[in-house]
Symmetry: C2
């Protein structure tokens, strides 16, 4: 506690000038302040407030804070440093293009463009729009995209813009779309517009779709080994096709192998097992031993090479995940180094003072309050000196995400209540926490589950729309209601709802109650809510550790799974557009009477006796008539079963080249699905290894950090803020002092909490390797200036000095 | 080379008595040699020869050698030490039951019992036997099993026999089978004999089926986590079944959800995707949004939980593999310690002399020649003293498998030929090894592949049974023949055939040649060989490292894959027997006209105009009428596609409880298949990690060890053998001396080689952990006597002293 004895002024003091000046500042001084206003306009309100009264030195520092914050943001978002804004003009554009309003605009234009396909040519009947309307809408959206791109160009500069691949592709697609939209508008008729499939690029490029971009990159990185094994697969397929042709084509009742093409197509379908016993049957009927051919084929292709495919993708995936983690870690480290250099002063080059740290946070996280800023500073500062050294500053990203709360001294929410009430609540608390209560509830849930099952089983008749509420429903709901009430009162609403499981219970019970209301008031679609009741049973899975593990991992995985799903949807969109352009309207009832799959497309009205029997094949519903239908059809193709019926139906109405579309789609979804499987495998195996490695450590709910703040420290900070006359901050801090006074404490303990991310787990798993990476990284740094990015070499803003070199020159 | 200067007598000398005496010997001396003859009868001929002239001390040693060899065998085969034969009588039975003749008998009786089901009641038509015949055969086989079991009992002793679970189960099954066989023989009619499914236990218990036993154990160990996730899966299924019933049963044209049972069954089938678009179609036709139900169901169940299942099994599998490796390693270590104690003398307790090592090997590997024994001893002995210490002896299993060959001084086989011939062959050698030659051959193979494809494509007509040999066939075959000739002469036949790839080329070319012969002589089924031609194309895959890796791993995996396949077949057998007992003869053409799958079982003769059109559903072929048919049907069920047609067909002819059979079969194959996938995944990921870890080390062809032997050493050993008058050994060694004299060498270098096993890879991968295991193991040893197995506690044969304790007492 050595540093607390120093007068606060020392570590809050605004002393000296920075070692390195922000590049914007250099730019500003040469520009003579031309774009100066823009900067302040775009920056956060807090920054603007401060700027009004700043001295020149202060102004210098503000610029440094801003650039440091940008570096840290780039580190966090994994933006490459060669896109770092290089001068004040670029900064203005950067700030304009980096806020949620802009991101939302980006996202909504992209979505608008994608949704247009609902209303264009083969439109969903209810949403059909005139050509004039949708073409105008499209042009409007495209103009917005042009605006976005021009902002980006302003920020990146022409040189970098040209070199940024993704942006260039986007620009090209934009051009093509523009031309086509105008052509449509002029001709007043839609032509074959397969290029619409490229519209998803606008979505992929959105800031919010970073996860999708990462997934796509990962898919493309996994492609080379995938293709290798795919070739092996196709090779065996060709060999077996030739063999099958020789073996089975003499059998004239076998339609599957009569030509080499049929032989190939049917073995491709067999790979997906979709036509399995059928394709074997004609030859099997003739000679039972012909099954050997199919068994060998399936064993090699399906059970061996397909699994090999998974193994190879899984392995690559594993490897990529680790490399990605490594590069992100080092990228963040570099970003922190950049920021650090902008925040240390010439007088004290060994660390960052709170003054400057606070300035940084004002830009990096404008919404953070003064107390949190100081706590973050204290949490970072592990050496107990007034300055945060570079070594401590490296933990910036881990610490800045913490949510701080004063540690309550009261154990229960009812501790302050009068004695009688306290005893009652304490009793409820003990009851609620007891094992007996828990297991009773589990039993009730289990009984409820069996009840529902039996009840449903008895309903066979179908008259389950009876108007009176079943009494069992009311009984169970009452029990759940009482439980909810007891738990809320016993634990306090805040603690009760802080557990995910309780939240789940709460919402399910609420829904059940709504269902009861609906039932009581005779609302028609009540059963949607009634059937949610069995979800209560999910609580039973809390009992076992493996389920808790699995369900926790499931929740952790959810964002990533959603992004993978979105990636799949983007592929769907492309294929749906292509499918609609080529196959819209080709499939209809009784369309394919000449093909082998005629039965599935049949729609006949028999009159047997005096009853009309409809014989329906239903497959004509799996068409590409509009984008929604296409999506459903593509999902059916993804599930793979009976996909050849859809393929053959379309093929019989078009050419046999249509099969290529379906086969390519199969291979693409196979890639994506394999990636998804690999991802789930990887995530779970990782998680289980992690729990196995940390078996002895207690179960934890995320990262928790504890920091104590003394009263004098708070008063010191208030002094500092008073000097800069930041009224709101001062008031906030004053409140803490008041509270301390009220309870007569000399200090308060704050708890910083955040949930554990994959990155935290990886940090722990690769602990030893990380040190190696760091050493390797700093060795590289020493041998060549690392901060000099290829693209920024021409700009004068980034000093090529490495940190070590710099500190040497200072000493 | 310090120890070479000692006179050979010192380290070959037969000095002193053993520290510990073989338990059989103790037994023998108390028994006064009653069972003495038995021992000699059963042991190897080499041992018998020696025994004729032994002194009493020598006899003591022989017994020690034998017990040490048994310990080492037990270590190798992972036999627990509590089954170690404890006295001379047990030893006789042990030796009788542990040789290949006995193993073969075991295997053949088990196979006979299994194959009987080909001829029993619902027999394969061609193989039907009278009840009297097959029941007698069965009784005969069962009596052989009784004999085997009695031998085992004699070896294990009654106490251990009772405690050995597998053997007890076998005994019970045997009893049941016996009773049933007699009942059949008496009643002269087969009753429902589901117990026949238990016959596979006889196969599983065979010594040769150790891999199958390990697989089964692994499957059972993976079951608990599997069942946990399965419950989660079934839980969601039930919830969705209730939901589906409420949602879709009002639609009367929807036969899939009209009762809760149907709803459940169809969702179970949907989990396998087998009925996918069909089950959705009726409701989809009514309301397009109902597809959401199916999409959500499939996403949760198929794409999430099923993959979770794989992840959990994969993780467990990984863990089990490692634990298995660890326990096997420690088991081997303990076995080596046991053996070591029996081989050291009281005078020199620090190591084993060659004399005793040689004695051990005579029992452990009777077929090893004297030279190899000495080389093994030298390879083990790394400390260059006349004795092998315990530390060196720990490498026993790694070294004893090496195949020793004198290192040839000649580089090529033609080095000794006259100058002209040498130059010619040298030229061929250089040509064959050149890249140009290789790539030319690849091009030829590729052209051949395209040629075959085009040729087959042109054959559309079907008249490919033309009598003249196509010239292209001859041309390509000639090229391959010339290549083969050049390679054989250039590299020498031995070196040529030592590479797996060359062997492959050779056999494919040979087959192609046989095909040509068949073609020339107009043999009918020639196309079997013709179609093998494309296999030549596999050579193209040599070009890329990944393929080499994949194919190498494939070959390494092959034995394990085969054992997994066999395990699956055993499950098939059980299900086939049960299926035959219940469903034999229930399915026939037009059997299921009342069910929903009637079309698939239809067999109608239409007369359209004047042509007879046969409308055939073929599914009646997927029946359980005999065991071969059952196997094919079960394979179809394994592939899963359209399995519900088979299920519904059988169900419509029997009761709806039959579905249980099919569902249980699905779950069982799911377990086995998941294990297979996990195994392939694990093996490949392991292999790839291994190659990644050892990237810089050159590609190696297994384990190679080099040892030099000097002439005087050989002469020393000859002396030793002369003393024991082992004539064949002496002659053999004399030959080496002669050869050395011929070339005027003072020493010869020998190379020991063996292929790399999974265990070697694991040793390298877990290098660090292995040291920890050893330490932990020896710590445990110190704290409690480890050699005292629970079962052997009563016998006096095993000294409870640990090795360290012992050496302390000696000192």
């Amino acid at each position: 506690m050595q540093w607390r004895e120093l007068p606060p002024a020392i570590y809050f003091e605004d002393s000296g000038s920075p070692v390195e000046r922000s590049s914007y500042l250099i730019e500003l001084h040469t520009d003579d302040g031309g774009s100066y206003d823009v900067v302040n306009d775009a920056s956060s309100p807090a920054a603007r407030e401060c700027c009004a009264q700043q001295s020149s030195a202060r102004h210098n520092w503000e610029m440094n804070y801003q650039e440091a914050a940008i570096y840290l943001q780039e580190g966090e978002n994994n933006d490459k440093f060669f896109t770092h804004p290089k001068n004040a003009k670029a900064l203005a554009a950067y700030l304009f293009a980096h806020n949620h309003l802009f991101y939302l605009m980006e996202l909504s234009t992209a979505l608008l463009l994608l949704l247009l396909s609902l209303c264009e040519a083969p439109a969903v009947p209810m949403l059909r729009l005139g050509i004039f309307v949708h073409a105008t809408l499209e042009l409007f959206a495209l103009i917005v995209v042009v605006f976005e791109l021009s902002m980006k160009m302003r920020w990146l500069g022409f040189q970098t813009f040209i070199r940024h691949k993704r942006t260039m592709v986007k620009t090209c697609v934009l051009l093509v779309q523009f031309v086509e939209a105008i052509v449509v508008l002029v001709r007043q008729t839609s032509h074959v517009r397969i290029t619409r499939a490229l519209r998803c690029i606008f979505l992929v490029d959105c800031r919010y779709c970073g996860a999708v971009r990462r997934n796509l990159r990962q898919i493309f990185q996994s492609l080379p080994p995938f293709i290798d094994i795919l070739l092996l697969l196709l090779f065996f397929m060709v060999i077996f096709a030739i063999l099958g042709f020789y073996l089975f084509s003499p059998n004239h009742s076998d339609p599957y192998f009569n030509t080499l093409e049929n032989s190939l197509v049917n073995l491709f379908v067999l790979l997906t097992t979709s036509n399995f016993p059928d394709v074997m049957m004609p030859s099997y009927a003739r000679n039972p031993w012909s099954c050997v051919f199919f068994i060998v084929y399936l064993s090699i292709e399906l059970y061996f090479i397909m699994n090999l495919l998974l193994a190879v993708v899984f392995d690559t995936f594993n490897d990529i995940e680790k490399r990605k983690f490594k590069s992100l870690l080092l990228h963040k480290r570099t970003a922190i180094q950049h920021a650090y250099r902008l925040l240390v002063t010439k007088q004290r080059p060994s660390g960052i003072s709170f003054k400057h740290f606070e300035g940084l946070l004002r830009f990096y996280k404008p919404r953070m309050c003064a107390r949190e800023r100081y706590l973050t500073f204290k949490a970072l500062n592990q050496s107990n000196t007034p300055l945060v050294s570079l070594k401590d500053f490296y933990n910036f990203y881990e610490v800045v995400g913490l949510k701080w709360k004063a540690k309550r001294n009261r154990e229960h929410w009812f501790d302050d209540l009068p004695r009688t009430a306290f005893l009652i609540f304490k009793g409820i608390n003990i009851l609620v926490k007891s094992r007996v209560f828990q297991y009773t509830m589990y039993t009730v849930v289990a009984v409820n589950g069996i009840w529902i099952l039996v009840e449903t089983f008895m309903l066979q008749g179908g008259n389950f729309f009876s108007r009176n509420v079943p009494w069992s429903y009311i009984v169970f709901l009452t029990i759940y209601g009482v439980e909810l009430l007891l738990k809320t009162t016993g634990l306090g609403p805040v603690e009760y709802l802080s557990s995910g499981w309780n939240l789940f219970d709460f919402s399910v019970t609420l829904f059940a109650f709504l269902g009861l209301m609906a039932l009581a008031f005779n609302m028609e679609p009540f059963y949607f809510i009634v059937v949610l009741r069995p979800l209560q049973l999910l609580r039973l899975f809390k009992l076992k550790k493996r389920y808790r593990n699995v369900l926790d991992t499931m929740f952790e995985l959810f964002p990533r799974m959603a992004s993978l799903g979105l990636t799949l949807l983007i592929f769907y969109y492309c294929f749906a557009i292509v499918g609609m352009e080529f196959f819209a309207g080709v499939v209809y009832p009784n369309c394919c009477n000449t093909s082998t799959v005629a039965d599935s497309y049949r729609w006949v009205n028999h009159t047997v006796g005096n009853k009309t029997v409809v014989e329906e094949g239903y497959y004509y519903l799996n068409n590409f008539d509009n984008i929604l239908n296409s999506f459903v059809t593509l999902f059916e193709l993804t599930v793979v079963n009976d996909w050849y019926i859809i393929m053959e139906g379309v093929t019989s109405q078009t050419t046999h080249w249509s099969r290529l579309y379906f086969m390519i789609f199969y291979i693409v979804t196979m890639v994506v699905m394999t990636i998804i499987v690999a991802f789930i495998l990887d995530a779970f195996v990782f998680r289980m290894n992690y729990t196995r490695k940390n078996q002895d450590s207690e179960e934890d709910n995320g990262i928790v950090l504890e920091k104590e703040i003394s009263k004098e420290e708070v008063i010191g900070i208030i002094e500092l803020y008073k000097r800069t006359s930041a009224a709101t901050e001062t008031a906030q801090l004053q409140k803490i002092v008041l509270q301390m006074d009220k309870y007569g404490q000399m200090s308060t303990v704050f708890l910083g909490r955040r949930s554990r991310t994959k990155s935290d787990l990886s940090m722990k798993m690769y602990e030893e390797e990380i040190q190696e990476w760091y050493e390797e990284h700093s060795r590289k740094e020493e041998s060549q200036p690392p901060l000099q990015e290829p693209a920024s070499a021409s700009s004068s803003s980034l000093k090529p000095l490495s940190l070590r070199q710099r500190s040497q020159t200072v000493i």
